[in-house]
Symmetry: C2
């Protein structure tokens, strides 16, 4: 070899522009000022209006002397003022802490105190759920009330301020928020969201501007959610539920219209909005899709192009109901609060074009492929060794990527993370040779029977495919002989005369004989977590199974 002089490694010569939420805001101002934000069927503004309010809100936060880096909490429905908080808080380098409005007061107080929230913005109608805890949240200096349609009494208390009054009295910030960020600032915390804490204390996930913008670009990628300017996007999933899956920021970056449902989650209200606003993309948890399923035929949802389901497994039968009635199946997404939250998007790909109808249903029941920049792997729970991507070897799902958590807020070492910095998800999954992810179960929801594993998810899907079944949860009951045995809790359609024997007959061809539940218990409703997911832990507690 001739000349081998050492060459220094060198950086590219590209502009050091940071990835920031400020860009999302100011891009919407420059390009999409005219696009509408429709709220609850009662309010219609544009991104220009939202941006104008946001610029006043930025001044308000300064006037309230909210320090840079401080947590600003929201306790609110999906409404216009909440969207303004989504913007004004992070673009002024504070941290948006979205609180789940369905939390029990004990969790609520823990979270607000742990986050050290400086100010809480709360929907007027939601005051009764949080104000009684105010005295046990001593770090909160101000409570700012967001007006809504309610006439809930507002306590006379010096800590209470009024959103619209504050904004009316503030000058809008006239400069460029984008220009206040350096490249290093893209790492700044922008948002905070606590996990639902079905096990142990809730833990806070601290997003950065960089992670948020990259997640947003993932939401725009064609073939995944593919948010575009021609979309009309309706986040039914609450703003406090893992950033509403990135839909609010994603819609603004794409220039899509936004439809916000407001406080009501009534099926008729949601469907009416989808019809009247010609919604193209909507996202909700399976229990909400289930609640809407019976009324689909009364509405014209022909504008729809994408229905997103996540938070828990979407039963294939539910997805098929939508495919039949609306023409569009529910596309599965796998995500977690720790994953910003979207990790994978399901649906068929070109390799499934020749598949039979049944095979396509099976593909759609899987969680799909990771978004660009996200990596997934399955590992042996015992050894941590990576397992083959063969579509059948089950292991713990682990995930890495620039929008995946590396730790929890104000928590030291945590065994949720591997030595090489991947997140342990607690989900059991297979990955096939095309990188297709299929969740099998939560590790803790798997049922160990006679030394073999029974998947509660597969058993639930089989039971849910019975036409009379509205909801189902399968959990493990301790068993002296088999270690554990499955028990199914089922909600039947009103007026159904279905029996346990009917259900067993229905699922017998679908599962191994030893998977058949030992008991089927009929209930009028299943317990839910604050985000509307089935709460197996509540079920276990109420049945004295821990």
């Amino acid at each position: 070899m001739a000349d081998q002089a050492h060459e220094p490694v060198m950086d590219g010569l590209m502009q050091p522009r940071p990835l920031t939420i400020a860009h999302i805001l100011e891009r919407a101002e420059r390009l999409y000022a005219h696009k509408p934000v429709a709220v609850a069927g009662t309010e219609r503004v544009t991104y220009a209006d939202v941006a104008r309010h946001t610029r006043r809100l930025a001044t308000v936060l300064d006037r309230l002397h909210v320090p840079v880096g401080a947590r600003v909490a929201t306790f609110a429905s999906n409404n216009r003022r909440h969207l303004e908080l989504y913007l004004a808080v992070p673009v002024t380098k504070r941290v948006l802490h979205t609180i789940n409005i369905r939390l029990a007061s004990e969790h609520l107080e823990y979270i607000v105190n742990h986050a050290e929230d400086d100010v809480v913005f709360v929907d007027r109608g939601l005051l009764p759920r949080i104000w009684p805890s105010a005295d046990r949240m001593p770090r909160v200096r101000h409570w700012v009330v967001l007006p809504d349609d309610s006439d809930t009494p507002i306590p006379a208390d010096p800590r209470i301020l009024h959103y619209d009054e504050l904004l009316a009295g503030a000058e809008p910030f006239a400069g460029s928020f984008e220009d206040t960020f350096t490249l290093a600032d893209e790492q700044l915390a922008s948002g905070l969201c606590y996990t639902s804490g079905t096990t142990g204390r809730p833990k806070g996930v601290l997003y950065s501007h960089r992670s948020t913008v990259l997640h947003c670009l993932g939401a725009l990628a064609a073939g995944f959610i593919g948010l575009g300017e021609s979309d009309v996007v309706m986040p039914i999933v609450p703003f406090f539920h893992a950033n509403a899956w990135g839909l609010p920021y994603g819609a603004m970056m794409a220039g899509a219209s936004l439809v916000l449902p407001g406080p009501s989650a009534k099926p008729a209200h949601l469907l009416r909005l989808m019809e009247s606003e010609r919604v193209t993309v909507a996202g909700a948890v399976p229990t909400v899709w289930t609640s809407m399923a019976d009324e689909l035929s009364a509405y014209d949802l022909s504008a729809t192009r994408f229905l997103l389901g996540g938070g828990s497994a979407v039963p294939p039968a539910l997805s098929e109901t939508y495919r039949t009635a609306v023409g569009i199946p529910i596309t599965h997404s796998w995500g977690m609060t720790e994953v910003s939250p979207v990790g994978t998007i399901g649906g068929t790909r070109t390799q499934h074009r020749a598949a039979t109808e049944d095979e396509q249903v099976a593909v759609r029941a899987a969680q799909g492929q990771p978004l660009p920049l996200v990596n997934v792997r399955v590992v042996d729970v015992g050894t941590g060794r990576e397992l083959p991507r063969d579509g059948h070897t089950v292991g713990e799902l682990q995930v890495s990527g620039p929008w995946v958590a590396s730790g929890y807020f104000q928590v030291g070492e945590d065994d949720s993370f591997t030595d090489d910095g991947w997140l342990r998800t607690g989900d059991l999954a297979t990955i096939d040779s095309d990188g297709y992810l299929r969740l099998v179960d939560r590790i803790k929801d798997l049922i160990k029977s006679g030394g073999e594993w029974i998947s509660s998810v597969e058993l639930e899907a089989a039971i849910a495919s019975h036409p009379d079944v509205v909801e189902v949860a399968v959990i493990a009951r301790p068993d002296p002989r088999w270690t554990e045995r499955p028990v199914a809790y089922v909600v039947l359609r009103d007026g159904s005369a279905g029996t346990a024997e009917d259900l067993l007959r229905h699922i017998r061809p679908m599962v191994a004989k030893w998977w058949l539940p030992d008991d089927i218990v009929f209930m009028t409703a299943l317990p839910k977590t604050g985000t509307g997911k089935l709460s197996k832990s509540s079920l276990r507690e109420s049945l004295h199974i821990s």
Copy 2:
């Protein structure tokens, strides 16, 4: 105000995962190994094959003792081995220098020496264009010949090596390239591309892994190019022309199939490939689209969903020809080598849905909106003050964003950049209130007549709308009375009997009377730059106008 204790600003707690081309490669291995790469109608491989070769090529670069950070040049057509170089060079932290194969030897030697290329990979059929310069490129240690269909003689010279032989003798790298990058490494240089240098010395733009990946995500964004898994992407634009507009990396990240045309740019060859491979997205410069326009009716292009045109203005008449024949207009993109290259994408948006057919044609003639993360502004050429976004105030277009150059390789201060770090483009443009960009002209191509400006671009578009006109260029001729006057150089369709008077009669209703060219000169072909753009500088030189 109560407690105002200082809060430290804090970073988010997200995984420090870098944005790297290694992710693009390994994502394709994990998710899209089965997807095809079709080359020139003669070769068909998969991404798995490409990745396997890439892993051997990585070892080859080590064995050749190519230092990390060294420039590895390519002098090649759009072919499979060139794609492997696109991957292996940057994922091993070398810098891919793509050389324009149409450069004159003087420019070629300047560029290779300025880049200090360590190795040059060259298509066998292109050896005659560069080997004669080898002795004047003393830093190049190795010349590696890429086999092609040609039987061009290969000189007997110890510097010459053979691509396939090198790969056959190398073990594939078995590890994860992605894992070799730290967060800081995303800033590493990954590619180098010289501007065409129509004025002054060619200058090198040094891309980073970060800029390349972000540009890729921009290419995936729905509503822009929107590359997705179901696409079949054909970069007709050469790999050496500003990264083939991001299409190769973009297609791989999206999991789209790739179709590479190989060395031939014959219209029939390109159209046959588009038909047989069911191409959905193709990108080419307007002169290439023009060359194909006459033969469209002989091919089934029904799979097409997006035709991308850039590099110079796409005449509306040309776009309409495609819209009539293929059903898809040519979508305008504005970009530059310094912008990676894509800055904006044209086409209609929701606000144009109610527009008349003619109005939509006018919208499609504009350059459109900037991609996410890109900012554009127009400034007064004299004062540098930003001008209003009113759709009619003309100023110099400036651009910023994470995939826009901040300087040139081995060049000191350069007046191409403003004090606040934006790139001066040399283009004159308007921006409207929806952020819609419309190029008026290159600053140097504007014609100053009687104290007023005449846009050569608009005049060219008017002339090009005549059915007999194949190509047109308008340049300024010095004029003692008016300072400058327009002269049009026109190529007519074979067999046309069109006269200057016909053309003047055709454009008279479209432009102001004083815009009418003083002369119309008929030619059999117009001079082109190395990238196939009309070369007005050559035209000026050949006509002794400087």
